[in-house]
């Protein structure tokens, strides 16, 4: 049996957003704190694939952003080992005036793809996204589905140690979703750590071995995926 390495450790994590609110009784506006995460503690090991479940506003996206180092916790600590990539929405930072190919080449270099592997990297994304001649058209003119294919293809081609996916697998047509799942399975097989925030229970059951259920920023249950789905279903029905 191999040694299990800790990939992500979350200790007593709380997070507050600060919202500007203007109302009748506060015409100049006031800054109001809003608690999005409340005292979360978790340990995620290398190679685990986790489904992050919860209703809208439960704190799933906030937790992913926090693990990705994009937002500041109010309290607690997160320790991550290895490169963390967050696929939120469908865009890793593509420039609208460049073509799909130009974007993958320019942005690929900036995401750490070595010069000698850039063409191969771009070709693999072209092959996955299957955009045809649109790959050499302006990214700004792409439909949401096309952007999703390119974005997903790009990010999963980076092969990070920790991949965080926020509701992105729903983009594109049925054929793309199948391809995306296959690509993700391949990534998981290569022992990366993956956290998927999703509302698709079928996808969660198929891809993940562990589930985490959040509600109003608090951890409700963390365990085997079937149990967590059961709990989530009972909570929402």
């Amino acid at each position: 049996m191999g040694i299990v390495r800790e990939s992500i450790a979350i200790q007593d994590l709380s997070l507050e957003y600060h919202d500007f609110i203007r109302a009748k009784n506060t015409p100049w506006g006031i800054i109001t704190p809003f608690e999005a995460l409340n005292s979360l503690s978790l340990v995620i090991n290398e190679g685990e694939t986790i489904a992050l479940l919860g209703r809208n506003g439960a704190g799933k996206s906030t937790l992913l952003k926090c693990i990705g180092g994009l937002i500041r916790p109010a309290k607690g600590k997160i320790i991550t080992n290895g490169r963390v990539i967050l696929l939120a929405g469908v865009d890793p930072g593509f420039l609208p005036d460049l073509t799909g190919r130009q974007n993958t080449l320019e942005l690929g270099r900036a995401y750490g793809i070595k010069s000698e592997l850039l063409n191969q990297f771009s070709d693999s994304i072209e092959d996955f996204a299957n955009l045809g001649e649109a790959y050499d058209r302006r990214f700004g003119g792409y439909s949401t589905g096309m952007r999703g294919k390119l974005g997903f293809g790009f990010i999963t081609a980076l092969e990070p140690s920790i991949l965080l996916i926020d509701e992105t697998l729903g983009v594109g047509d049925v054929e793309f979703r199948k391809k995306a799942q296959l690509r993700l399975k391949k990534f998981i097989k290569n022992s990366g750590t993956v956290i998927i925030s999703t509302h698709s229970l079928g996808l969660a059951k198929e891809l993940c071995n562990r589930g985490i259920l959040l509600d109003k920023g608090k951890l409700v249950v963390d365990g085997d995926i079937s149990e967590v789905i059961k709990k989530y279903t009972s909570m929402t029905s």
Partner: protein, 271 residues
């Protein structure tokens, strides 16, 4: 790389590998290109507009002032307008820079140092573009000395870097109170007319002169005029006042650069 994220900061343990350093350099280049592309957009002349803008603005004011006053000092005006444009661009850029927390990288957090270095590169290019057209006009049309031209290049770059830092030091307050950005715009507009932009300090008198002695821009622009052998008060300034003002500017600027990571981290949860 082990990364630790808490309320105080986002930090990484250990030294960066050579691969990570080269990725950061690629990112700096990418951010610089992105900012330049944002300026050029779909405009056919692209970033040439950065060069043409101060020349055309100077010519408009030269025309207006010639009509109104009957005489004006075109070299002085060209130097004033181009350096003031550098000041405005850098101050505003510093004030709004932390609005873009990601540098355009939406899938991965990039180091603040990378964003900062990209901003400095951009500042250098933007300042050079803003002044180079005017430099050409001064050198070819008005026969300003080579030393004057070189001094203007250096002074403009110094203004750019100092005022970008000053902008950074106010960036958090500006983000908290966006109204201040409107105040800044109005103040910059006022100082365009009240400061020694379109005319040298020797053209001012009384309270107008006294107030401008406390305007940091005065010392930069008057020094540029002095080096270009134009009318300037550089030989008669009070060194003490000038030193205090310039040291304050430099200190505020350094503080801005130094604190940008903390500012960036603090405002990530401001909706």
């Amino acid at each position: 790389m082990r990364r630790i994220i808490d309320n105080n900061s986002f930090y990484e343990e250990g030294d960066l590998s050579s691969d990570e350093i080269s990725i950061d350099r690629e990112r700096e280049k990418f951010i610089l290109k992105k900012r330049l592309r944002n300026i050029s957009g779909k405009k056919r002349l692209g970033i040439l507009w950065m060069i043409m803008d101060p020349i055309v603005t100077s010519m408009i004011y030269l025309f207006v002032l010639t009509i109104l006053k009957g005489r004006t000092d075109p070299e002085s005006l060209f130097i004033g307008i181009s350096t003031y444009q550098v000041l405005q661009n850098s101050l505003k850029s510093g004030c709004i820079s932390i609005r873009d927390l990601t540098g355009g990288f939406k899938a991965e957090r990039i180091r603040t140092k990378t964003i900062l270095l990209a901003s400095l590169r951009y500042r250098f290019v933007d300042t050079l573009a803003t002044t180079c057209g005017v430099l050409g006009v001064l050198f070819i049309v008005y026969n300003v000395s080579f030393l004057g031209i070189i001094s203007l290049i250096i002074i403009s770059q110094i203004i750019g870097f100092i005022f970008e830092g000053i902008g950074l030091s106010f960036s958090l307050t500006m983000r908290r109170f966006p109204d201040l950005f409107n105040v800044l715009n109005l103040f910059l507009r006022l100082m365009f007319f009240a400061g020694p932009v379109m005319y040298p300090m020797v053209a001012t008198q009384g309270i107008h002169y006294q107030i401008n002695l406390y305007n940091p821009f005065t010392y930069f622009v008057e020094f540029a005029r002095y080096m270009a052998e134009l009318d300037s008060i550089m030989t008669i300034i009070d060194i003490k006042i000038a030193s205090v003002i310039l040291i304050m500017c430099i200190m505020t600027s350094i503080l801005g650069y130094y604190r940008v990571d903390r500012f960036r981290w603090r405002m990530t949860t401001w909706a």
